[in-house]
Assembly symmetry: C2
Homo-oligomer: 527 residues x 2
């Protein structure tokens, strides 16, 4: 099961793509890895989407319990190949082993968490309005509402979470939970990881007695296979984590279809951090250390990496910068996820370094033995320079951050106004800062999906209350989250049934509430 | 308060537009009505949107109770001007008085219903995950989630519900309920109605002590003022009910913005009705009568008018057609909403009448004294003709329907597959039809927002379980409803707060649940 073949998985079959080949590269050593992978094209998209559409008819009618058991099975199958999988992830992505093991646990837990959501049952969104035959001027009919799945979902694997946001990651788990078959376009930087995970899912489909089209895994270029996938009439929604240009291209393709479809693209975020004066004077040194720990997590390649820090000019800010600079200098170079990401990062660092109003504070240790070398950098600039140049809030994907020195409260207000939509904003505040924090909070709310107090934006907890989303351009659709259980709602829509005979009522809409789920009945929530 | 001035309402002020003038026309008599209305342009859009943005900061922080009282006040203000308002609606739209009075009651009830939603409180979407400091491998932070309003909403009034889906209609009620200021572009066919209602809302804003920018009412062309409104950076969502071309134009404008925004456009639907064999043989005659009663409601100008009927060829179908033909012949001509709608309807009828494979069954009585005369028409065609020509499922907005004779079950399946997205599908079934209905139901679910059994699609109940939405092209965003309480969700998005100090927690996210609302705590719903 874990001998890599270089094939795509189309339903129950394996197919070696015939429109080109590629190999993964070890970002630490720069060596190309075995095996050779075949690239697919529109033929494979059509096959996978036809199978997915066929499977949808059956899959969407499965019970929540059955889908939960399927998700549990995927988790167990992943855990059964943990050793081979972890080794391959490390080889393909350069991520350190403890993080890979943590990510595998997170991925399995995430699948099981959606199983819990399915078993709890309120995802059905059941609303019942009993008939009122005597209502004036018109009788009220019997109306029952539930949510149904949209249809097959195209999932684009992310490079930076080769497990948790790739083949069996959050988008896949939430779409499968919703009752949607999934067609994954594997990320080109970890095809072996994708194949191992894909085979675990493929096996779970078979072992669960589900139709084969519930899952397919394709390799191909974004412009060809990716576009064909989003344009395919059987595909009804898209989950994507990646660059802004990639997300926007998919959104344009989706909007140009005869029938447009939703695109849930998580695109870019610089995750501003605000160090309020009280916090800074209380704990500047500790904040500097903790900030760099967050910045360097995952070699800075997390969607929530703190790329911008704002603080009022003060001696405490100098203490913070001194502490952060020492931590940066002590940081070790590490492999970035891929050569492409590494060169884009180098370009971003050069952009800061060559900017007339930006000063380098510190750089981390280099390690030229690493092919895709990621080195930490810390820069500063002034609020007026930041406000004058919108390019200074463009994401530099990697362990680089820009500290912006603010002179007064009016600059702070202008900066918050000027910020683009973000996944997160972080506020460090002491007791003395509460008034300022209270002013800041409603402004930040309008810009972000999550507000973190006295912590760091990295470390996205996969739970019931998480929001990993935010206004454009952090995502293409700020009304949703891609992490946490609310993500299931992205792939559902409401349907109402008027005077449906009892024999035909879908599960959850019966009079007796056999599923025992929370429902809204005549406007009141009840079980 | 009810002396019409021809002005727009921008916050607390009244402004006569200076980019042109127009007058409403009485569709029954063809006469132009007083007063002259001034058209606004981008200047007025900018003023209204700046006021709306200012107001948003305050309005979004108002309690559910306060917004509920505001909606109640709008309803009371409308009822206070009922006589003048009803008279003006009749003059401007030709709608018969009982329907206008019913629509006014529905509009007031709809506002009060959203008040109930606000007081009930679960719209907040509160989710709380208490911290788990001892969790391994990482502690869980304190995470709390709620939904916040998107920002100012542009509402485009509909022609066919001059009260219930216009200035203070469903889109406005749900957006105001969500905490979003509203800027209405009045529909050009009922400016006087819009002014009366607009002044009632404007007064309610003042009487409720809310910032003036919570509501503005503009007159202008769709291509100029409408486009400027959707393109305005302060506008964060769009509610629209109208034509497919109009909705698509707004969606294109919204997608082309620097920051795209959601467009909730309810566009077109032919609302297929399936007469299953058992039902037809049991009650063909009664079905024919009831069908035409639904078809002629509102002179066929309802979004849910039954424009297509499918039935197996049989003697019972002939009985149905005979009964329907008699009802059509007995139907009286009535004024359509506007000269434009009337001429588009005439063109649609001509399209059927001149189609080689379409036969006219019956036409209603004419009344040439009516300027915008709407006459009922009934046509038939065959399933093969229907399947051969996609134009036969294009909406003819008015009291015209096409009965499609089906030969066998395979044709029925092809027809269901060929249907575009619809607001509704209706099934008439007797006991003997249950198996066929069971097969049909999942197919219809994929195409529509509401399924009606043994009734008619017109008569959309404004309640908790209604869905008035559906897959494209019936709406631009099939994940929502524009009627019923779920509509509030269109204008909200989730935000998570991590480790927020207790002093800063928004209402509904406190430990003690002072609001007493249903919340999800640690994955369980509780109050």
């Amino acid at each position: 099961m874990t001998d890599l073949t270089g094939e795509m998985l189309i339903g129950a079959t394996s197919v070696f793509g015939d429109t080109g080949t590629f190999r993964a590269r070890n970002p630490r050593t720069g060596e190309d890895l075995e095996p050779v992978y075949g690239l697919g094209g529109s033929t494979e998209v059509r096959k996978a989407s036809a199978l997915a559409w066929d499977a949808f008819a059956t899959y969407r009618e499965t019970s929540g319990e059955r889908r939960a058991a399927f998700l549990d099975r995927i988790a167990a199958n992943l855990e059964a190949v943990a050793e081979v999988l972890v080794a391959r992830v490390i080889t393909e992505t350069g991520i350190a082993e403890p993080r890979v093991r943590g990510e595998l646990a997170r991925t399995a837990n995430q699948l099981r968490l959606f199983g819990k959501v399915l078993r709890e049952g309120s995802w059905i969104g059941a609303r019942i309005e009993p008939p009122l035959p005597d209502r004036e001027p018109l009788p009220r009919p019997d109306l029952r509402q539930r949510k149904i799945p949209l249809g097959p979902v195209a999932v684009f694997g992310a490079s930076n979470f080769p497990l948790a946001f790739s083949v069996a990651g959050g988008d896949t788990a939430s779409a499968l939970a919703a009752g949607c078959p999934v067609i994954v376009k594997a990320h080109g930087s970890h095809p072996g990881t994708s194949e191992i995970v894909g085979r675990a899912v493929q096996a779970a489909v078979r072992e669960s007695g589900l139709p084969e089209g519930v899952f397919s895994l394709l390799h191909g270029s974004g412009t060809h296979l990716g576009t064909a996938l989003v344009a395919d009439p059987h595909v009804r929604a898209v989950g994507f984590t990646g660059s802004r240009s990639g997300g926007l291209a998919l959104a344009a393709t989706a909007a140009a279809r005869a029938v447009p479809i939703p695109v849930y693209a998580e695109m870019s975020s610089v995750n501003p951090v605000f160090l309020l004066p009280g916090a800074l004077s209380e704990r500047a040194d500790a904040l500097g250390t903790a900030f760099v720990a967050s910045l360097t997590t995952g070699v800075g390649q997390l969607c929530t990496s703190p790329g911008l820090v704002f603080a009022f000019d003060s001696p405490a800010l100098e203490t913070f910068l001194g502490s952060a600079a020492r931590s940066v200098q002590n940081s070790q170079a590490a492999p970035m996820l891929s050569p492409g990401i590494c060169s884009a990062y180098a370009e971003g660092v050069r952009r800061y370094a060559s900017h007339a109003d930006v000063t380098e504070v510190a750089a981390g240790a280099r390690d030229e033995t690493i092919a895709a070398e990621g080195v930490t950098h810390l820069f500063t600039t002034t609020a007026s320079a930041f406000l004058a140049d919108p390019a200074l809030q463009e994401e530099v994907f990697g362990a680089t951050s820009l500290v912006v020195r603010i002179e007064d409260a009016s600059q702070l207000a202008l900066i918050v106004q000027a910020l683009e939509g973000q996944l997160t904003a972080t506020v460090h505040a002491a007791g003395a800062d509460l008034d300022l924090a209270r002013q800041l909070l409603p402004e930040l709310e309008l810009k972000v999906g999550r507000i973190v107090f006295n912590g760091w934006p990295t470390g996205v907890d996969v739970g019931q209350a998480m929001v990993h989303g935010g206004p454009f351009p952090s995502t293409y659709d700020g009304r949703s989250t891609s992490v946490g259980t609310l993500a299931i709602e992205r792939f559902l829509r409401p349907v109402a049934y008027q005077d449906l005979p009892a024999e035909l009522r879908p599960a959850g809409l019966d009079d007796d509430n056999e599923l025992g789920i929370f429902r809204q009945v005549d406007g009141q929530y009840t079980r």
